[in-house]
């Protein structure tokens, strides 16, 4: 018999243009990289940066779209737009920082950028995905690239080790994730979020669906590095090249949270009570554990790793709070956190210098004298992380706690503020090192390129600006979470 001709569904490439641009740029770099030896990194930096700019441009129209493209596999809406924006900003900054970083360490690795771009493309598919399959594929694209990237430093044992650990655990968790997807698929008959919602609307959700949900939750919790699925974080963050660590701590987290929120708010509202209970506990444990463990860290990358775990905890508070307020809080927090943390890691990269030689807190002694500018910027980022006004970090925490109290989670908030009081200790400890302690070795002023300076300035400026005039960006956040409800 003659097979009936396949007719393609109408494909809205406009919606995935940002991702496409990045992939394309990736290919260009890959090919060009083969022929270029000397300026490969510079070239790749330039191309990637350009790609990011273009992607930002083509991302804009998505804000006002509201459709399920590619036969309902991805959703093009303001939510997608917001996270694309976030991811692109993170990628852009990371690209700039990485360029300098690779040059300093004279690593001639155009592939680094290729993978970086692929990773962020993957993220975009992940956040846009409105089908478990799509989310999974995006997730894996992202993960595979990151596994490789974290192991990319040729001369570093730690880098390899990081890659190894990340890969094993990542594989483990994605297996779990898939099992959850399977169960959910089994109990609802589809992997499409909207269909899942429909299927679950009728009657109480069955055990299978719940278990499926739980396993998905584990999968996401792993990617967002929340306790007890966080164990990989400090090691991988420490081992991976610093700019990438920054990228992981914001980009991957953001993407994971985006998908997390989309799946749970959009597809599983019928089980909200259940997963709220679980997340409540996870949030508490995460906030406490992250902050406490960060207290005693001597390696700044590890410290920031634990702090990022803690921050994941705060974002979970937002998810627990739920509702538009909570989701919006999460988005705003992620926005603030992106700039803050990338900035912080940029400085870690600068101070780390060749071969990441200076990662200990004691290497920051006397920075206030030798490099006042760096110290100032670092303090700003740390204040933002600690949530001290008038920085974006403060507004972020403020939104989240407001949302939580609005939903009546007083204890969660109290634990939150107390743990962030703890966090003040270790953030201020760095400031103490920078300004109040004499340097151990001869402190020379560190040279860092215009690119770094640019990245730092941008981050700092944004932190202050959206910290003092948050209205507009809160507006964005609120507007962007509309599609979820």
């Amino acid at each position: 018999m003659i097979p009936s001709p396949i007719q393609l569904p109408e494909l809205n490439f406009g919606g995935i243009l940002p991702a496409l641009v990045l992939c394309l740029a990736g290919l260009v770099i890959m090919i060009a990289g083969l022929f270029m030896k000397r300026y490969a990194v510079a070239m790749s930096t330039a191309v990637s940066a350009a790609a990011v700019l273009i992607a930002l441009a083509v991302n804009h129209p998505i804000r006002h779209m509201s459709e399920a493209a590619f036969s309902g596999l991805i959703a093009l809406d303001s939510y997608t737009w917001f996270f694309n924006l976030l991811i692109l900003l993170a990628t852009g900054l990371t690209v700039i920082i990485s360029g300098r970083y690779l040059v300093d360490d004279d690593l001639n690795l155009p592939e680094y950028f290729v993978l970086l771009l692929f990773a962020s493309a993957g993220m975009m598919f992940m956040v846009a995905g409105s089908h478990l399959l799509m989310i999974f594929v995006g997730l894996e694209t992202l993960s595979i690239s990151i596994y490789v990237l974290s192991g990319i430093l040729p001369h570093s044992h730690k880098s390899k080790e990081a890659a190894l650990k990340y890969l094993i655990l990542g594989g483990f968790s994605s297996a779990v994730f898939l099992y959850g997807a399977a169960l959910l698929y089994g109990s609802t008959g589809s992997g499409n979020l909207t269909l899942i919602t429909k299927a679950l609307q009728t009657g109480a959700p069955g055990l299978t669906a719940k278990i499926g949900m739980a396993l998905l939750l584990v999968g996401f919790a792993f990617k967002t590095a929340t306790v007890p699925f966080h164990m990989w974080t400090p090691d991988v963050y420490e081992g991976a090249p610093t700019p990438l660590t920054g990228f992981m701590s914001v980009g991957v987290k953001a993407a994971a949270f985006a998908a997390f929120a989309r799946v749970f708010f959009e597809a599983l509202p019928s089980m909200q009570i259940t997963w709220t209970q679980i997340l409540w506990i996870i949030a508490v444990v995460t906030m406490i554990l992250g902050n406490f463990a960060a207290l005693i860290q001597e390696n700044i990358k590890r410290m920031l790793a634990y702090s990022s775990i803690a921050h994941a905890g705060y974002i979970l508070v937002a998810m627990v709070a739920g509702g538009e307020a909570g989701a919006a809080g999460m988005l705003y927090y992620l926005l603030a956190y992106t700039f803050t943390n990338i900035g912080a890691f940029a400085i870690v990269a600068i101070v780390g210098r060749k071969g990441e030689a200076n990662l200990m807190l004691d290497d920051y002694r006397g920075l206030g004298r030798s490099n006042p500018l760096l110290a100032l910027a670092m303090s700003l980022f740390l204040f933002s992380l600690a949530g001290i006004p008038p920085t974006a970090g403060f507004v972020g925490k403020f939104t989240i706690f407001t949302a939580a109290i609005n939903s009546g989670y007083y204890w969660l908030v109290i634990i939150g503020v107390l743990t962030s009081a703890v966090s003040v200790f270790y953030y201020f400890r760095v400031i103490m090192k920078m300004y109040m302690e004499a340097p151990l070795k001869q402190a020379e002023s560190i040279q860092f390129g215009a690119g770094m300076l640019f990245a730092l300035t941008i981050s700092a400026a944004v932190i202050l600006y959206i910290g003092i005039f948050p209205t507009r960006y809160l507006g964005f956040a609120v507007e962007s979470v509309k599609p979820l409800f």
Binding site: V218, V227, M231, A293
Partner: protein
């Protein structure tokens, strides 16, 4: 004229400011005369106002002048104002007059001292505060003066601040006074809460209807106020500071610790006569305390050898007299004695100062004797002073003291006995000091002996003036014969209400002339006995005192060491509080509270350490933790 009363205190203040701010480049003379002039001017003004007052009808001899509203908060309205009435008038005269004289004396006495300017600045400041104290029209302003004089006495006692004893004495004076002020303050609060005002003219007239006779409230108020008085006037239990206060320059002792400041308490009690009259219990307390102080101070006075300390204790005991007078309701007599005492005690102190001056700072009477020829003026003036204080007719002390004794007899014979005994001792130890200092054979060592010299006129003339006053001062208030007692009559309008309340409260016998005459004779006799006794022991056979001391070693020791009151207080209050505070600081503040705080911090860090030790670096453990989390969640869902 009365509306310029505010100038009286202000003039010394101006003097203080001039000397204090610009005095650096002035000569000693200039400084001295500016200071003295300021006070003198005040005195002149006071006198002129006095004449204006007495020209008024007796009823309306109370003029209030309000300069400005000082504190205005809610219903609390306290003005910076003055009240001129017979009582404050007398105080003004005494303070400014005696003050002026002592200023002049000081010019000579302090000649060449380090910090001459500082001295006069303080002295002016003191006079300012004292005048404020006596002329204020409300309790709070009086309190200002009250604390002010306390401050000045602190500063002047500690004038030789490099001497530790002096500095200590100053602090002691201030702190003990503060204890008294604490009572005064609380008394004020009670008054304010009851009357809604602190102004005399609002409080006293309203007292009778606002406060029930012998009620708890009024008793409380008066006792608290009296606590303040005991502090300022060195009565039991707060008298310990006055003897130490002798560390200050002698004129200071004369002015502050004899003539004026220490009498502030008496003034205050007299001022509140109405309130006290309403609280018989308090009256009794005042009388008893006064009598007791008079007695005990006298006993101590007997044993002392430091001439100034003898005078100090006599001051305390005289103050006791005054309080006893107030306590038995003879406020006028109290004030009368206050005035006369101001004269002769200032005189005595300054004479003693002159002796000191001559003896190049020597104070121990055992190292004196036979000075009468070397220091004629000093000798005579001192002798007059002694006669006055001993109460020999016709010197000032005689009248005032006998009036007090008479009234106390009327109140209760016990008071009279105490008073009389005290009088005996007073005349004894005063003459003892006279004999030991001026008579008998000289016990002066040589080098002091050969530049032994009479003081300059600038010092002796003030002595003479005061001697004159203590001679004739008594005649303004001749008791016994009604009408002759001008002083009483002048003060009558002030104390009338109190008198009437007392009369109305306890029955009060009519004025018994014969009794009074008898008592006079008796006390005169007592005084003479004291004189003779002293003469016998310190001129005729001088060995006796030592033998007595031998006999009653322990008794003498007890008395000589002022009954170990100081040591007792140190043990009871000072040390215990200091030790307890140290305990609080080290054990509580640093161990308990800070311990808790740091403990929490350490605990947090410890847990941080523990938690991060979970991060073993073994990938399998990480997988395990994921598994645990997973199983727990699923178990939770399945088993729920």
């Amino acid at each position: 004229m009365t509306k310029f009363v505010w100038l009286i205190p202000i003039l010394p203040l101006i003097g203080f400011l001039i000397n204090g701010l610009f005095g650096k480049r002035f000569s000693e003379k200039a400084i001295g005369w500016i200071a003295a002039g300021a006070v003198g001017a005040a005195f002149v003004l006071a006198v002129s106002i006095f004449f204006e007052i007495i020209s008024m009808p007796a009823a309306s001899r109370s003029v209030q002048t309000i300069v400005y509203t000082w504190i205005l908060s809610g219903d609390l309205n306290i003005s910076f104002g003055f009240l001129v009435d017979p009582l404050s008038m007398i105080m003004l005269l005494v303070v400014s007059g005696v003050g002026c004289i002592i200023h002049i004396y000081s010019i000579g006495y302090m000649h060449g001292e380090y910090g001459f300017r500082r001295y006069f600045a303080y002295l002016n400041l003191f006079v300012f505060n004292m005048l404020i104290l006596v002329s204020a029209n409300n309790f709070l302003l009086m309190f200002v003066g009250w604390e002010g004089v306390g401050l000045c006495s602190y500063l002047l006692i500690g004038y030789y601040y490099e001497k530790k004893s002096a500095a200590d004495a100053g602090k002691k004076a201030f702190v003990v006074n503060r204890v008294g002020d604490f009572g005064f303050l609380l008394g004020m609060f009670l008054i304010y809460v009851t009357f809604g005002s602190l102004n005399y003219l609002d409080v006293f007239p309203a007292a009778q209807e606002k406060l029930p006779y012998a009620g708890e409230l009024v008793t409380g108020i008066t006792l608290l106020l009296f606590l303040g008085a005991t502090g300022k006037s060195a009565q039991i239990p707060l008298f310990t500071w006055l003897p130490d206060a002798m560390e200050g320059p002698t004129p200071v002792s004369a002015l502050i610790h004899a003539a004026t400041m220490v009498t502030a308490g008496v003034y205050m009690v007299a001022r509140c006569s109405v309130l006290f009259a309403l609280a018989p219990a308090s009256m009794t307390v005042v009388a008893v305390i006064g009598g007791a102080t008079a007695f005990f101070a006298a006993t101590i006075g007997i044993t002392q050898f430091d001439i100034k300390r003898v005078l100090a204790y006599s001051t305390i005991s005289q103050l006791g007299y005054m309080f006893m007078a107030c306590g038995v309701g003879a406020f006028a007599s109290g004030i009368f004695h206050l005035m006369t005492h101001a004269f002769f005690k200032a005189l005595l102190f300054m004479a003693a100062g002159s002796v000191m001056h001559a003896m190049s700072g020597e104070l121990d009477m055992r190292k004196m004797g036979g000075l009468k020829d070397k220091l004629p003026y000093t000798h005579w003036t001192y002798l007059i002073g002694t006669l006055a204080i001993a109460g020999i007719f016709p010197f000032a002390g005689f009248f005032s003291k006998d009036e007090i004794l008479f009234y106390s007899f009327e109140r209760h014979v016990g008071f009279w006995i105490i008073g009389a005994t005290a009088a005996l001792m007073t005349s004894f130890y005063m003459f003892r000091s006279v004999y030991m200092t001026f008579y008998g054979r000289s016990r002066v060592d040589h080098e002091t002996a050969h530049h032994l010299h009479e003081s300059p006129f600038i010092m002796t003339i003030p002595l003479m003036i005061l001697a004159f006053l203590s001679t004739v001062g008594g005649f303004v208030g001749i008791p016994v014969f009604e009408g002759l007692n001008r002083f009483d009559a002048f003060l009558a309008p002030v104390f009338a209400p109190a008198k009437q309340i007392i009369a109305h409260g306890a029955h009060h016998g009519h004025h018994n002339v014969t009794l009074e005459l008898v008592l006079m004779a008796v006390s005169l006799g007592i005084a003479i006995v004291g004189l003779l006794l002293a003469r016998h022991l310190y001129i005729v056979n001088t060995s006796v005192p030592d033998r007595i001391v031998e006999e009653y070693r322990d008794v003498h020791g007890l008395v000589y060491n002022k009954y170990w009151i100081d040591e007792l207080y140190d043990f009871l209050f000072v040390n215990s509080i200091v030790n307890f505070s140290r305990f609080l600081w080290k054990r509580f503040d640093e161990s308990v509270i800070d311990g808790a705080v740091n403990g929490i911090a350490d605990l947090t860090r410890k847990w941080g350490n523990r938690i991060s030790k979970l991060e073993t670096g073994l990938v399998k453990d990480y997988a395990l933790s994921i598994l645990i989390g997973m199983v727990v969640i699923i178990g939770f869902l399945v088993l729920k």
